[in-house]
């Protein structure tokens, strides 16, 4: 199953299918490489999590326990623990640790609706989970105690992610907003909003934490600078940006305090002329929450699944599609990039049920 790499040989990263992992009996919902790159884990609507060795792609563990389908998983930074979010409203922590095989160590209950997304902090001491109950919960990993409930959104929360030092959490939601939270205090730091605000199906920080990559259900991926826009009234202009606006606490919009109180003046923040904004399009994403990933091991790419059964790779800077990986037989709903090797894993929905692992062709 060769990818159409030859067409634009210079630009294409030249990924080819290495292996197809089957085992899940229903749609694969997510795939993730462990931070050390040793393991690959997948979760599925069949209520199971499967863990594979990423070197030889052999099964390592099968984790059963959830009462409903599993939507998301996250490895702890040391790769020892695995957290999973399920439609049974729980978040579970599994210990893959040495000896005795994998086992369930914690069941975190509290969400009042489907737990949809989960993320370990980079220090491994805190876990964040987002749910259809519109909240983000922050948990202490050691005790399983819920530290905070963030009244995050007004629609289901589709994504949570920590920045590189664990200080910030970004959340995305069907309400069309991305919010950035101070993870230590639970305070909202910033709200990122679009003009049309299509549902946000995915959001994550860039590796350096300065940008947020967000997917919206209008088949668009957006990379936006969320920090660095200096505070102060000086930089207010009556400018209108094409895509996303970064709105901060200091009067990005001005309330028009006239009698009715309904007149709004849009005064949009002009941070560095908005030049840090990039959008990636060409794929199809209007229905499912399809995560995207940064591929930084060899060249810089944005990788995402698509509802046209392909995996798309864009050049980070030029925003051009550099490769389309074909092979799945249903919507590709999950992708993950190996932290060090040039390896991409993808998973697809019910018609397919497999996890595919793609590697760069040698001799190129």
């Amino acid at each position: 199953m060769a990818a159409p790499a030859a067409d634009d040989a210079s630009a294409s990263p030249g990924y080819v299918l290495r292996s197809t992992l089957s085992g899940h009996r229903r749609a694969v919902s997510t795939v993730k490489f462990s931070p050390d790159g040793r393991l690959l884990a997948s979760a599925s609507a069949d209520k199971l999590l499967r863990v594979w060795s990423s070197s030889d792609l052999t099964p390592v563990a099968e984790l059963a326990g959830h009462g409903e389908g599993v939507s998301d998983l996250s490895f702890s930074p040391d790769g020892r623990l695995l957290a999973s979010a399920s439609d049974d409203r729980t978040v579970r922590i599994w210990d893959l640790g040495a000896g005795g095989g994998a086992r369930l160590v914690k069941t975190l209950t509290g969400h009042t609706n489907y737990a949809f997304c989960v993320a370990f902090s980079p220090h491994g001491n805190v876990l964040a989970s987002g749910s259809f109950d519109e909240t983000v919960r922050v948990w202490e990993v050691r005790s399983g105690k819920c530290l905070r409930v963030l009244p995050a959104h007004s629609e289901p929360v589709t994504a949570v992610n920590f920045d590189r030092d664990g200080a910030m959490i970004v959340s995305g939601s069907y309400d069309g907003l991305c919010r950035v939270w101070d993870s230590a205090t639970g305070h909202c730091v910033k709200t990122l909003i679009d003009d049309e605000s299509p549902p946000v199906s995915f959001a994550k920080f860039s590796p350096n934490g300065k940008f947020v990559l967000a997917a919206t259900l209008d088949s668009t991926l957006k990379l936006l600078l969320w920090m660095g826009a200096s505070r102060g009234h000086m930089s207010l202009t009556a400018a209108r940006e094409g895509g996303w606006k970064v709105l901060t606490g200091f009067g990005d919009w001005d309330w028009a305090l006239v009698a009715s109180g309904l007149f709004l003046i849009m005064r949009l923040w002009n941070f560095s002329a908005g030049k840090f904004l990039k959008t990636y399009t060409g794929h199809v994403n209007t229905k499912y929450c399809i995560p995207a990933a940064f591929s930084i091991t060899n060249g810089k790419y944005i990788v995402s699944g698509s509802e046209d059964k392909c995996v798309y790779l864009w050049d980070l800077q030029s925003r051009k599609i550099v490769q389309k990986l074909e092979g799945h037989t249903d919507t590709v709903i999950a992708v993950s990039c190996h932290p060090r090797e040039n390896m991409i894993a993808s998973g697809a929905l019910d018609n397919d049920k497999t996890v595919k692992v793609w590697v760069q062709k040698e001799d190129q």
Partner: protein
């Protein structure tokens, strides 16, 4: 109002031009807001008790270098480490030898080791990652404070300040000790043990002496009972310089700021003095040797040392309470060195005063009516941890003001009313299109998603350093793996609720969990948190409740048996279950009714 007047008067006495004892307006605004009003950095210091930590009786605390972990020594000889982010207990160091109350704890530079001094005259060095004891040494005297040498990542040298003798340098590997000089004679080089019988109160040969390493451990600043700061080379144990402190009274504390730029002394004359360190922070040892070698032509050795001292430290300000003249204890710098905090040494008082570097009082914090016994300022945040005599650690933090516009970007918080000026076409039926002078977004601009700036606060750390920032969080397993089976089991035993099998298995679980309870003694007033002591239990129950009503029913049926079996404890846990089943989070009144209900059921 009288208090307010005194407050102003005090400020005035300190020569503060701002403290104009003017009209009523000021009087109303006095105290905190007065202090903050004309202060540019207002809010960069703590304002209120945010939370408290409770585990045994804690006696002393210390933050690690980055402030992610807080170590505490307890009265039972154990040490604990709190994860300061989650405020959860991360580690406990216990040993059968260590049973005496801890007097101080000290981190190694990169957090690999923790040193504890105890009242049984011992020093114990712990490996933070493994939790193992590396060394234990018993001294002649009880060390009041001990600190690891900051230079090395895995130090074995520590500086101990005993109760009533000169400070010691202790090699924890070999147990060898080196007594530091605490005074220099007027004429000769060899420091005579007790050169002056200065005053009658000096009955013991030495009063407690304070000492601290400089930033990299090259020098030791010793504050002696005569009111002098001695700068001692930590390698040669040679006194290089002497700085006489005005007043000449016993130095109780001597503390270096985190960046090594400032030094403060707390003297018996109730004055905290702040000195600017004019030696280079790095390579201070070499610099002072140069100074020492180059200074010749002084009449006496003491004069020479004094002259050396003048090129090491410069007095920058004096802090005291001119009116009440209270004694201070445990003064220290804020993480950025901009503030100085001192605690009142008055009995039963938990009061902190914060000054700025110019000596201006900026904040008074009054805590519970419990004497304060230790305090530490977070290295980065405007947060202070204090230990009260009851063994609680209080965390003082800045009060958070919710920034609503962060939530709703179209919401702007106004400080005061603003007159709205409408736009020319604002109410036109067909407003003109907005001008197209819009910013063009250059989507092709190169962006960098990988590089990040190092935290400037810790710029002194090389990248290669392997630092213990967080301790691995291995969750304490909640109910064992057989849990799901048990649910099934109990539901199958729905009819015979007094069946002995299921309650006993319940007991097993509960007993098993009696141990992990230690891991979360913190009483959280966080409304969202579950009762932590019940953590695993409640979790387990909640999960059952999620499973559905049938299971709740079965649990209910089972409950009386459980109660009989293990008395109060299981009553509690079953109540816990009920409350979770109902999806609410406490009320003891409910408990009883729920139990009654259950009894009726059975």
């Amino acid at each position: 109002m009288a208090v307010i007047f005194i407050e102003i008067f005090k400020l005035h006495r300190r020569g503060m031009p701002h403290a104009v004892c003017g009209g009523i307006r000021w009087l109303c605004a006095v105290s905190d807001s007065f202090l903050a009003r004309d202060y540019p950095y207002q809010g960069e210091f703590p304002e209120t008790i945010e939370e408290y930590l409770h585990h045994g009786t804690m006696k002393c605390i210390a933050f690690n270098r980055t402030g992610t972990l807080l170590a505490a020594g307890c009265s039972n000889g154990s040490c604990v480490i709190w994860d300061f982010e989650t405020r959860g207990l991360a580690r406990e160091f216990r040993d059968k030898d260590c049973t005496a109350p801890i007097t101080s704890v000290s981190w190694s530079r990169y957090g690999h080791r923790l040193l504890a001094s105890a009242t049984d005259k011992s020093l114990t060095l712990w490996d933070v990652s493994t939790g193992e004891k590396i060394a234990r040494i018993t001294l002649q005297q009880t060390p009041l404070r001990a600190s690891l040498q900051p230079g090395s990542p895995t130090p074995s040298i520590c500086l101990a300040c005993p109760l009533s003798s000169a400070p010691l340098l202790v090699d924890l590997n070999t147990g060898s000790t080196t007594v530091l000089p605490v005074s220099v004679s007027e004429n000769g080089n060899p420091p005579a043990p007790n050169p002056r019988n200065k005053s009658a109160d000096g009955t013991p040969p030495f009063t407690p002496t304070a000492a601290t390493f400089d930033k990299h451990g090259d020098l030791i600043y010793v504050g002696n009972s005569k009111g002098e700061i001695l700068i001692v080379d930590s390698k040669t144990i040679q006194v290089h310089a002497v700085i006489p402190i005005p007043g000449g009274t016993v130095v109780k504390d001597i503390v270096l700021s985190r960046d090594g730029q400032y030094l403060l002394t707390n003297s018996n004359d109730r004055v905290i003095r702040v000195y600017k360190n004019i030696l280079p922070v790095k390579g201070s040892g070499e610099e002072i040797r140069n100074i020492s070698n180059n200074s010749n032509g002084y009449g006496s050795h003491y004069d020479k040392l004094k002259a050396n001292g003048a090129s090491c430290l410069i007095l920058s300000c004096e802090l005291s309470d001119a009116i009440t003249k209270i004694q201070w204890k445990i003064p220290c710098f804020s993480g950025n060195g901009e503030w100085i905090v001192g605690a009142s040494a008055n009995k039963g008082e938990h009061r902190l005063q914060i000054w700025d570097q110019t000596g201006r009082l900026v904040k008074i914090l009054d805590g519970p009516k419990e004497a304060l016994i230790d305090l530490a300022w977070h290295p980065v945040e405007p947060t202070i941890a204090t230990v009260s005599v009851t063994g609680f650690v209080y965390i003082w933090a800045k009060e958070h003001v919710e920034n609503w516009s962060a939530f709703a970007p179209d919401f702007v918080e106004l400080e005061e009313n603003e007159e709205y000026v409408e736009r020319e076409d604002e109410f036109d039926l067909n407003p003109r299109e907005e001008e197209a002078e819009e910013v063009v977004i250059d989507e092709n601009a190169e962006i960098d998603i990988e590089t990040y700036e190092k935290n400037a606060v810790f710029s002194d750390v090389e990248d290669s350093v392997d630092e213990v920032v967080f301790l691995p969080a291995i969750p304490s397993p909640d109910a064992p793996d057989e849990q799901p089976e048990k649910c099934l089991g109990s539901s199958s035993k729905l009819e015979d609720s007094n069946h002995s099998g299921s309650p006993s298995s319940m007991d097993a679980v509960q007993n098993g969990q009696a141990v992990p309870q230690v891991s979360s003694p913190m009483e959280v007033d966080n409304s969202t948190a579950e009762d932590p002591a019940e953590g695993p239990n409640s979790k387990r129950k909640r999960r059952l409740s999620v499973k559905g009503l049938e299971l709740q029913q079965s649990e209910k049926g089972k409950k009386p048996a459980t109660k009989n079996k293990s008395n109060g404890k299981s009553t509690k846990s079953s109540a816990k279950h009920m409350e979770s089943a109902n999806g609410k989070s406490s009320a003891f009144d409910d408990e009883a009714t729920e139990d009654d209900e259950v009894n009726i059921d059975s």
